[in-house]
């Protein structure tokens, strides 16, 4: 079975990560920011899987499982926060939530 060079897997992970990063920076809508964070987390997980496959070890997949757990927790808390923000500010604009400015 032919295999894939590690670098291509990692480049894919890097590309997805960069796309997610651009989106986080550009978007003002908090839900979009959350989605972008999910893309970035997924990209990080992909990098772990590629590294795990490189060495033929299960550790990379274990890490992915941890990341997925974290993502699930983050999304649930994040969505609850978004609902609160929308309720309080009547908008999804992240720039509106700037009461903590110094």
């Amino acid at each position: 079975m032919e295999t894939v060079a590690v670098e291509y897997g990692l480049i894919l992970a890097g590309t997805l990560f960069a796309l997610g990063l651009i989106s986080v920076l550009v978007r003002r809508n908090i839900i979009f920011m959350l989605i972008s964070v999910e893309i970035m987390l997924n990209a990080a997980g992909l990098a772990f899987i590629v590294a795990g496959a490189r060495w033929g070890q299960a550790d990379g997949q274990v890490m992915f499982i941890f990341i997925i757990t974290m993502a699930a927790a983050e999304v649930s808390v994040g969505l609850a926060l978004i609902l609160q923000i929308y309720h309080q500010l009547k908008t999804l604009d992240s720039d509106a939530a700037d009461k903590m400015k110094g």
């Binding site: 986080v24 920011m33 720039d95 939530a97 700037d98 009461k99 903590m100 400015k101 110094g102």
Partner: protein, 628 residues
């Protein structure tokens, strides 16, 4: 009986405690009874213990009251050590202390701080007793600092007047200079012996050190520093004349009879170390000799009755230091004892006079008191005679004569010491009788307000008797040859080594000393009774010298110039604390950066992410450049 030793310091302490706790609600009568009875009981116990001690020929008795603290190898207890040396001191402290307490009842009768006075006085006696009974140096230091504290409190007893507070501070700070040296000495002793038990140190020292070892010399000098501070010797002597700001009984008890002789006690107690450090011992003698001369000269020129006595105290303690320096240990203790009697007597007499004349201190405004106050006159005369060492009848003659002779005859003595001591003796008798003649003879210049009562007379007379007969416990070889005191002290303090062939000079020297003392009296008589104008003429012809001596050889001005003013200068330029500036700068910088960076806290989430991203890019770029 001897097991009641712990009661001796405890009783005055209890007295002080009761007086302090009940100070506002207690009557004067009760305060006086508590104050005097505790000391009286202590004196009584001292007599009983002393009797038992002498009867059973005990070497030493040790009583551990309780353990104070124990830290890794150092165990310090409230443990008391009684031997002949501490017995002599105990006797003097409790007895003289008791009579001074009695006297104070009358003297302080109208004072607002009556209870406070007795509380301080009792506390002082307690601290002094701890000092002389301590069997380890830590406890001794506790007593040492305790008497310093009480001295401070009592000098500044009339704290309404600013100069009294100043005098108290001066005494405290100057003695503290010596105390610091003493503390360092104790640290070094602990470093060498790993114990601060006095007897242990004295037994181990000769095994560890050969005579003249450097460590022994340094430690001996440091201990000497402490002694010099407490005993007002050169160069730390200038606090004592100012300490006369306190009430007269305080001057009598603390600044004449007991506390100032603590330095003598310390050196006598640690004599084993001085014998291993001949250089330090020589310096003890030199300091004593120089001090007795310059203090005597200053005493010649003073007008204030109490200041004359203060300088005379410095001078007499100089004699004790001289005796210690030539290895005449028991002679020093003997002179201490006699000095305590007659100097307490003189101070109490002076206090009575001053009290009777509306707190008039200038003796040239007194005069003619001989007939107004005969008891005071006669007792004062006895004290003065003893101070001037009038031959045969006074105790002072026997004690001072012993020092004079040993200054000449002992192995460590020298003609220089002898000449200094002899000159000092002459000056002593001149200024003593100058004081007597000016105060008690001539015309009455100030009206006597109130005459002393019975209590004062009792105290004066008892002390006068002691000043007369106290000398008979130790008589020279040529005259009776009684050696009660030196026999008693012999197991503790080694006897003086005489120079070969010097024994025969004793009679001659006694005759010289007697002549000198009497000629001093004669000189004073000529100057102040026969031709009073003569003194003024000499005073004005040597105006510069007179001024110099009057100002105590201007030591205060010297210290002001050398220490106080540079210190003030340094503290002026360092008013805003250089070290503090650094921290203030730190605070300012932190505040500035905090304010600056808080502007980046925009609250816009995307900017924060932007910052994180930019940071990641920078770090990655840097790592790329550095690695390749």
């Amino acid at each position: 009986m001897i097991h009641l030793l712990w009661l001796i310091p405890t009783l005055p302490f209890l007295g002080a405690l009761i007086l302090v706790l009940t100070s506002s609600s207690i009557s004067r009568r009760a305060a006086a009874i508590i104050g005097c009875s505790t000391i009286g009981l202590a004196a009584l116990i001292t007599v009983l213990i002393g009797y038992e001690f002498l009867a059973t020929h005990t070497e030493a008795y040790r009583h551990v009251a309780w353990n104070w603290f124990a830290v890794s190898g150092l165990s310090v207890g409230f443990s008391f050590h009684l031997d002949a040396l501490s017995l002599v001191f105990l006797f003097v402290i409790t007895f003289v202390g008791f009579f001074i307490h009695l006297y104070s009842v009358a003297f302080m009768h109208d004072d607002a701080g009556f209870t406070r006075f007795f509380a301080y006085l009792n506390l002082f006696v307690c601290a002094m007793l701890i000092l002389v009974l301590a069997d380890n140096l830590v406890l001794l230091y506790l007593g040492w600092e305790g008497v310093g504290l009480c001295s401070y409190l009592l000098i500044g007893f009339w704290y309404d007047e600013e100069k009294n507070g100043y005098a108290a501070r001066k005494a405290f700070i100057m003695t503290r200079v010596g105390d610091t040296a003493l503390a360092i000495g104790l640290f070094m002793l602990f470093g060498v012996f790993h114990t601060l038990d006095i007897q242990e140190i004295l037994t181990q020292a000769p095994k560890l050190w050969s005579p003249g070892t450097q460590t022994a010399t340094i430690i001996a000098f440091l201990l000497l520093g402490g002694a010099v501070g407490k005993s007002a010797q050169l160069p730390l002597q200038s606090w004592l004349p100012d300490a006369m700001a306190g009430p007269s009984p305080v001057s009598a008890l603390i600044h004449a009879a007991t506390m100032v002789t603590a330095g003598v006690y310390l050196i006598a107690r640690m004599h084993g170390i001085y014998e291993l450090a001949p250089l330090a011992q020589l310096w003890v003698g030199i300091i004593g000799a120089v001090t007795l001369l310059i203090a005597g000269c200053s005493a010649l020129t003073q007008n204030d009755l109490k200041r004359v006595l203060a300088y005379s105290t410095i001078s007499q303690i100089g004699y004790m230091f001289l005796a210690l320096g030539i290895g005449a240990w028991s002679a020093a203790v003997f002179h201490f004892m006699i000095h305590a009697f007659f100097k307490a007597l003189l101070f109490l007499g002076a206090g009575t006079v001053i009290w009777a004349l509306h707190h008039e201190h200038d003796m040239f405004k007194m005069g003619g008191l001989r007939k107004r106050m005969p008891v005071v006159y006669w007792t004062f005369l006895i004290g003065a005679g003893s101070l001037a060492a009038i031959p045969l009848v006074t105790a002072g003659f026997y004690s001072k004569d012993q020092i004079l002779w040993l200054a000449w005859a002992s192995a460590k003595g020298s003609p220089w010491f002898f000449i200094a001591a002899l000159t000092g003796a002459f000056i002593t008798s001149v200024y003593t009788f100058r004081m007597v003649f000016v105060t008690f003879f001539g015309a009455e210049k100030t009206h006597t307000a109130h005459l002393p009562g019975k209590l004062m007379h009792v105290a004066l007379m008892v002390l006068a008797v002691l000043s007369l007969v106290g000398g008979f416990i130790e008589l020279p070889h040529t005259f009776g040859h009684v050696t009660l005191l030196s026999d008693l002290l012999h197991p503790i303090l080694p006897s003086t080594v005489l120079r070969a062939g010097a024994e025969s000079s004793e009679v001659l020297i006694q005759l010289i000393a007697a002549t000198v003392a009497l000629s001093g009296v004669l000189l004073a008589y000529i100057f102040y009774i026969v031709k009073p104008s003569l003194a003024d003429e000499i005073g004005s012809s040597c105006f510069e010298v007179h001024q110099l001596w009057y100002a105590g050889w201007r030591f205060d001005a010297l210290y002001n110039l050398l220490i106080v003013r540079p210190f003030v200068w340094v503290s002026t330029i360092n008013k805003r604390d250089i070290i503090d500036q650094f921290y203030t700068g730190l605070v300012t910088a932190t505040e500035y950066f905090g304010k600056t960076f808080s502007r980046t806290q925009t609250g816009v989430l995307r900017w924060y992410i932007m910052g994180i991203t930019a940071g990641a890019v920078i770090i990655l770029t840097l790592s790329l450049f550095i690695n390749r």
